[in-house]
Structures are given as structure tokens and as C-alpha cells.
């Protein structure tokens, strides 16, 4: 288990990626982190940070929140490095940490009455395409708004399958279900998206 002094340098020192890290696999880096070379986490962040951010952003469409969640996920990965097991892959592990953080965040916000899907849907996609053509911008906003209206589980399966382009088997492993179940969920999510999109489109035209 990481001691305080083991993980604190992360917040003090500059994070460099020595050349020796470039050739190492994620899992080798994790082993080095576990052996006390906490700087290895900086290289892991460099490799995965942005992709995790994009996943998060598509889930909540909020830059600050997504950045915070990803950074917190890496801080937790460092704090709970002992739970990373030999023979497992780093990426699903860090995703799981991030997903847990995200779920906790939503649960807390809902509990505090601070999170409003309607608000998120209303804000969704705004300001993204300020310079793009108006029609395209509207379509983008509408599609993001429809996405934001889906329950988190449906949104997640779409984000993982479409934006992340992950194979169904991998998504199944992440969500704790079989490949067949992923396909069913995906299809239902797409159908819900279609219905939400239509509703928004109708509302806009009227």
C-alpha cells in the first residue's frame, strides 16, 4: 500500500517522462510505480489522459468536471496502486476507477439536488461550433442534447461503442455483462437516442 511519502511527490515534482518510459508497456509502468517510481504515473497519464478526458466529456459535456474526474482517477490509481494485480491490463483498471468516480459524482449531485438532466440537455453542445455553419451547429447541439437526455447507462454504451470504438467484448468486460447483452443495450440506446432526437427536432420546428 502506498505510504503518504510515496505518493506525495506527484504533487510537488515536475512530471517528466524519461526516455526509458517510452518503451515500457502500461503494465510494466504500473509495476515500476508499485516499486516506488511514482513518476511512471506521469507517463501513463500522458498516454491515456486525453482519451479518458474525451470519454468523460462525452458523458457529462463539462470540461472542468471531466478534467477533475480524470485527474482524480489518476490520483486514486496512485493511492490504490496496491489493488492493481499482476496479469491484468492497466486501461480497463483506470477506466473502472474513472467510471466509479463518475457514478459517485452523479449520485452525490442527485442526492444534493444539484444535478439536472434537463439543464445538462439544455446546455449540451452549446459553444462547440461557434464558427461552423449554423445548420450544422444546430444539428450538433440537438444531437448532444438528445445524448444528454439518455440515462447514463445508455449514454455510456454509446460512448464506448461509437466514440471509443471499443469491441463489444471489451465493453462487456467493462460493464460486467456478456457480448450479447452489450448488443442489446446498444440497440436500445440507439433507439432511445433516435426518439429523443426526434422529440427535440419536433419541438424545435414547432
Amino acid at each position: 500500500m502506498a505510504s503518504y511519502s510515496t505518493y506525495m511527490p506527484i504533487f510537488r515534482d515536475r512530471w517528466l517522462s524519461p526516455k526509458s518510459y517510452a518503451a515500457a508497456t502500461d503494465e510494466e509502468l504500473m509495476r515500476r510505480v508499485q516499486a516506488g517510481e511514482t513518476e511512471g504515473m506521469g507517463e501513463l497519464f500522458r498516454r491515456h489522459g486525453e482519451r479518458l478526458y474525451r470519454y468523460c466529456w462525452r458523458m457529462n459535456q463539462n470540461r472542468q468536471l471531466s478534467e477533475d474526474l480524470v485527474q482524480e482517477a489518476f490520483a486514486r490509481a496512485l493511492r490504490f496502486q496496491g489493488t492493481f494485480r499482476e496479469g491484468h491490463r492497466f486501461e480497463p483498471w483506470i477506466y473502472q476507477i474513472l467510471r466509479n468516480l463518475q457514478t459517485d459524482y452523479w449520485r452525490r449531485q442527485r442526492f444534493e439536488g444539484d444535478w439536472d438532466d434537463e439543464d445538462m440537455a439544455a446546455e449540451a453542445g452549446k459553444g462547440l461550433t461557434a464558427d461552423a455553419e449554423v445548420a450544422k451547429q444546430q444539428e450538433t447541439e440537438l444531437l448532444y442534447a438528445a445524448l444528454a437526455r439518455l440515462p447514463a447507462e445508455k449514454r455510456e454504451v454509446l460512448v464506448l461503442a461509437r466514440f471509443e470504438e471499443r469491441p463489444h467484448a471489451e465493453i462487456g468486460a467493462m460493464l460486467g455483462c456478456g457480448e450479447g447483452a452489450v448488443r442489446v443495450r446498444l440497440c436500445r440506446a440507439l433507439e432511445s437516442l433516435r426518439q429523443e432526437y426526434r422529440k427535440l427536432l419536433e419541438r424545435r420546428t414547432t
Binding site: 478526458y53 485527474q71 448532444y144
Partner: protein, 260 residues
Amino acid sequence: MKESEFCAYGERSLPAYLDGSLEAEAARTFAGHVAGCAVCREQVKLWDRLAALPVEPPSETFRQGLPGMARRTVARPLVSDRVAAWGMAAMLALLAGTGGYWLGAREGAQQVALVKKDVEHLRGLVAVGLLQQPSAVDRLRGVNYTARLSAADEGVVEALLTTLRTDGSVDVRLAALEALRQYEGRPRVRQEVSKALRREDSPMVQMVLLETLAAWRERSAEVELAALVADEAVEQGVRERARQLLAQWREKLEGLGLRQ
């Protein structure tokens, strides 16, 4: 899903069609179906459009990597505007005071680090000040404020431990415990959290204490756990969880051949 808009064929084949895993013949047949089925056609269209959706890029600080992650908290700031304004004014005064020297100094990076440290110290003071307020809401804010510190000093950690030990509000004690979780590497924190179990009388806090100790695998808390199990005044569910945890730990030790 409306009955009229449901497409069973689509539900069966669409995901495989979209990810290209349908066999050539099946894919051709399904493509023919898509052309004639409004539901499937719209879904395929949406699927294509989704790929083109832009993402707001992350900030420069984020891109620079982990140095920028000065432990920003996930929770929204809970400090009231008044307190935040006071803290901000104090920080600005401090920055202005050191600014002249700072700007003139050649070794800028070192000065920035010093100023940051001072600001951090000041934040710590604000947090401790809040923890001593008579209002539970203010104390709760104080606890949440500590989570924003990159590295809380001894004073802040002690204030949190005192809050956990003595605060009259269950909510504040729970929040203090949550904030203390990040200091699991400090032996004193682990010890005090174990001890808190003995004093705590709220079943809710007792449960969270148990879960914290379980997550930390704090086996030195065995005595406290045993006391809890034996105490008939303690809520049944709490005793059961303590019993479970104790059994788990003992089983593990036995498995390792460390206990007869």
C-alpha cells in the same frame, strides 16, 4: 419504445451490422432492410452522425500532465461567497505583498513555489477557522474546503481528527471522515480512525468507519471491532458488519499461516 416503431430484425442485427461483424451475405440482406425500414434507417444515420460530433478540447493545464493536478476536488466548492471573498482578499493581499519582490526576482519559479505554499497555508487556516464555527453548515464547508488543499499540514489533519472525535453533527463527522480518507498513509490518522469506532454512537458513522477500515485493511483495529461486536447496545447491522470484517481478516491471516 412505441410498438409501431419497434423493429425486431433491427434489434437482432443492427449492432453487428454497425461494427462490421455481420457476414457479407447477412450484411447485404440487412442493408436492403435498412433501405426500407424507417426506424433502422434513422438509427444508422444517427450512428454515422455521432462519429462526427466534436469534443471540447481539454485545457492547456490538463495537457501539460500531472503537475497541473494540484488535487483539485471533484466536488463543487462549498465555501460560501462571503468566506471565499474573505479568503480571496487575504490571498490577493499576500500576493500583492510578495508580488513586487516576486516580479523582480530572477529565480521566478522558486518564488512562485513560495507564494503557492503561502496561499496553501492560508487556505489551511481558512479551513481550520471554518471547522471551529458554531454553525454545522460552516463546519461542513470547512471540511469540504480541506479537500481542496494539495497537501494539508498537520494542523488541518488534526482539526479534521478533532472534528471526527467531537463534532456534534453526524453529517459533519461523516464529511470529516471522508476527507480523512485521503490521509490513509499517515499512521496517526489510521490509529485515530480506529479509535473513533469506540467513541462513535451513530450507526451511520460507525458503518462508514468500518468500511474505511476495511478499505485500508487496518487490522490493528481488531480490538475495537471485537468491542463493537460484544457491545449489545450497538445497532445489529453494525455489529454484523464488524463480525464479518473480523472473520474476513482472521480467515486471511489463517490462510497465510499467521494465526493458529
